[in-house]
């Protein structure tokens, strides 16, 4: 396995002080932000386009292309999406806690490239420690004159504000995040007309980038777009952070070159399955992604294209591994419950559909399911995500609703027998749910009584 580390290099080499401004500068930090001031906007945008850097928030859209779409009106804003809440994902938390200056430098570069003078970092409310670290880094950068009026003694002004969210997954969706930053309910806006690049924050052109995306920028500038693109032979350039969790021996965040296989990831990097169990299924890109099974997908390359061709996505890079003792109905229920809870409620297919899916799965698990329930769940799913197509045909403003369908696809395509056995046996027989019904955790939803 190649040991090319970029965004996690500093925290790997200097585990005790990678978050400090002194260590950051001693390891070449802020040199590229200074250099960016000497380049033209076009040069910067072209360099990032040439690097092939893809957005790391989940959509994997070309970062350079996104920048080039920014409408000419000013003021324009930059918003860093640190509302990491996709189940299975914890990579941004590590970048925020362990190397916040790297992100700040990426923000300065992005701002200069897009003529932005006010940037925001939107951190989820459940991340107070990362927020404290980032605020400390921002304070240090202001004190050094790297932020504020005339950054690096140039004529360029840049303000940076750290904002804490209120606990809502949907605010990871860029237009919902913008609404939330304006102090409103975090409901996604309709696109068109509200494309952030044209009508974003305060109705002005806005770039929304993920933490990992901008953290890559200092490295792209320092090594050059061609070298960055040359890290792998794969179509996807550079490195990619993956959050590995579930039944593996070594869960954690790994910065990896694109193009290794799932077998490499789970059995080599992840140290194999816990307690020598068999692999049953895994979710390849966060809770939103359709599931993979070993019989079909273990030797696929981990790239955007290969994953899409197999009907799933790399999303936020979160890999959730499940062993043979995992009840698929229960796992599916837990994923669907998440989307049901986090649905903002604007669009009927999502609000009603996710609630129905959750109810159907729970009754199958608890032993009161009917033989037609799986088909009913598939039918409801079809109402949220027409024809169950991949990528989904949208019935809703944002992709949250169609994401909730992913576990149902897995039950329909790979685990139909297991579902039907739940019905015929009158409940679940897997470990952890003795006697049928699972613990009454899901008797009420997380938001009940408080909203």
């Amino acid at each position: 396995m190649s040991a090319t580390l970029l965004v996690t290099r500093r925290m790997t080499d200097h585990p005790t002080d990678s978050h400090t401004v002194d260590r950051y500068e001693a390891t070449g930090g802020y040199a590229q932000a200074r250099r960016a001031l000497t380049l033209t906007r076009d040069e910067l945008v072209e360099e990032v386009k040439a690097s092939g850097l893809l957005g790391r928030g989940g959509a994997a859209f070309s970062a350079g292309l996104k920048w080039s779409f920014l409408a000419p009106a000013r003021p324009a804003y930059l918003v860093i999406n640190a509302d990491e809440s996709e189940p299975g994902t914890f990579k941004d938390r590590q970048l925020l806690e362990r190397d916040p200056h790297q992100m700040v430098e990426g923000i300065i570069i992005t701002a200069i490239a897009n003529e932005v003078h006010h940037a925001f970092v939107y951190i989820r409310g459940e991340y107070p420690k990362p927020a404290r670290r980032v605020q400390q880094a921002v304070d240090e950068a202001y004190a050094k004159g790297y932020l504020g009026t005339g950054v690096f003694e140039s004529g360029y002004d840049l303000e940076l504000t750290v904002h804490l969210g209120g606990g809502a997954y949907i605010c990871g969706e860029e237009t919902a995040l913008i609404n939330s930053l304006e102090g409103l309910r975090g409901e996604p806006r309709l696109k068109p007309p509200y494309f952030p690049a044209a009508k974003g924050l305060y109705m002005m052109p806005t770039i929304v980038n993920n933490v990992e995306t901008v953290s890559n920028l200092p490295h792209i500038l320092s090594m050059g777009a061609a070298s960055y693109a040359g890290i792998t032979d794969s179509a996807d350039t550079g490195t990619f952070m993956m959050s590995l969790s579930g039944h593996v021996n070594r869960p954690g965040n790994y910065e990896l070159p694109h193009g290794i296989t799932w077998r490499d990831l789970i059995y080599d990097i992840g140290g194999g399955m816990r307690n020598g169990k068999e692999l049953k299924a895994w979710i390849p890109g966060g809770a939103s992604a359709p599931w993979f099974i070993p019989e079909k997908h273990l030797d696929l390359e981990i790239t955007k294209e290969a994953t899409a061709a197999a009907g799933s996505m790399l999303g936020s890079g979160a890999v959730i591994v499940m062993d043979e003792d995992t009840c698929m109905v229960r796992a599916a229920e837990r994923v669907v419950r998440f989307f049901s809870h986090e649905s903002c409620g604007q669009c009927t297919p999502c609000r009603e559909g996710t609630t129905w899916l959750e109810m159907i799965l729970r009754r199958i698990e608890e032993g009161t399911g009917r033989a037609v329930d799986l088909d009913l769940a598939v039918d409801v799913s079809d109402g949220i995500s027409i024809d169950l197509a991949w990528p989904p045909k949208m019935t809703t403003i944002c992709p949250l609703g169609p994401s909730a369908v992913s576990p149902i696809l897995a039950l329909k395509d790979y685990f139909r027998d297991e579902v039907q056995e739940h019905v015929s046996r009158g409940g679940c027989w897997f470990p952890g749910s003795p006697g049928g019904p699972p613990p009454a955790v899901t008797g009420d939803r997380v938001d009940e009584g408080s909203s």
């Binding site: 189940p87 939330s180 954690g252 998440f338 955790v441």
Partner: protein, 181 residues
């Protein structure tokens, strides 16, 4: 939204008076404030204990026993999910993913994280909170006492922590400094 947290810090949770005050500051109606506050899970509009214990039961934590940790915490504290004890000391809730999947199962006390918690350690945590009643809830201290495997190495110790059931963050003035460590 920062104002809502500050209003919570005043009284321990978001009261009607607090929301009315925020409405005055922002020159909007109290109903508009309520519409925002009710959208987000972290703005608690009911009396919340000094220690808010949030157990993650999302998929990654569930796979490694998060449900059992929740039940142990509920049982030991006598507080079921979504409720607060009579004394106003402990509230228990189960929450969706808190971004600690590599250290599952994860628990937060006043949003300060503990990873690798077992049901037995969950019980010890409740007992400790009742007995020690720390003024400042510190992540590192709790991780050492009640945690095990983490998502990644934290490495750098931090003395600061939460002083109430809302996130500890300097610009909100809600961060506490540990005096005795």
């Amino acid at each position: 939204m920062p104002l809502l947290y500050m209003a919570m810090a005043e009284e321990g949770y978001l009261t009607e008076a607090g929301m009315e005050e925020v409405a005055r500051w922002c020159d909007i109606t109290p109903a508009q404030v309520l519409s925002v506050a009710s959208f987000y899970t972290m703005y608690k509009r009911e009396r919340t204990g000094a220690y808010l214990i949030s157990c993650c039961t999302s998929i990654s934590c569930m796979l490694l026993g998060g449900d059992d940790v929740l039940h142990a915490v509920e049982d030991e504290s006598g507080v079921p999910h979504g409720e607060t004890d009579d004394e106003g000391l402990i509230s228990v809730e189960h929450v969706e993913c808190i971004g600690a999947c590599g250290g599952a199962p994860a628990v937060q006390v006043n949003y300060e994280l503990i990873e690798g918690v077992t049901p037995a350690k969950g019980r010890e945590l409740v007992t400790w909170l009742k007995k020690a009643r720390p003024e400042v809830v510190n992540s590192d201290e709790m991780q050492q006492l009640f945690g095990d495997r983490r998502s990644f190495d934290w490495a750098i110790a931090e003395d600061r922590g939460a002083i109430g059931p809302y996130p500890a963050f300097q610009p909100l003035g809600t961060v506490g400094e540990e005096s005795d460590s």
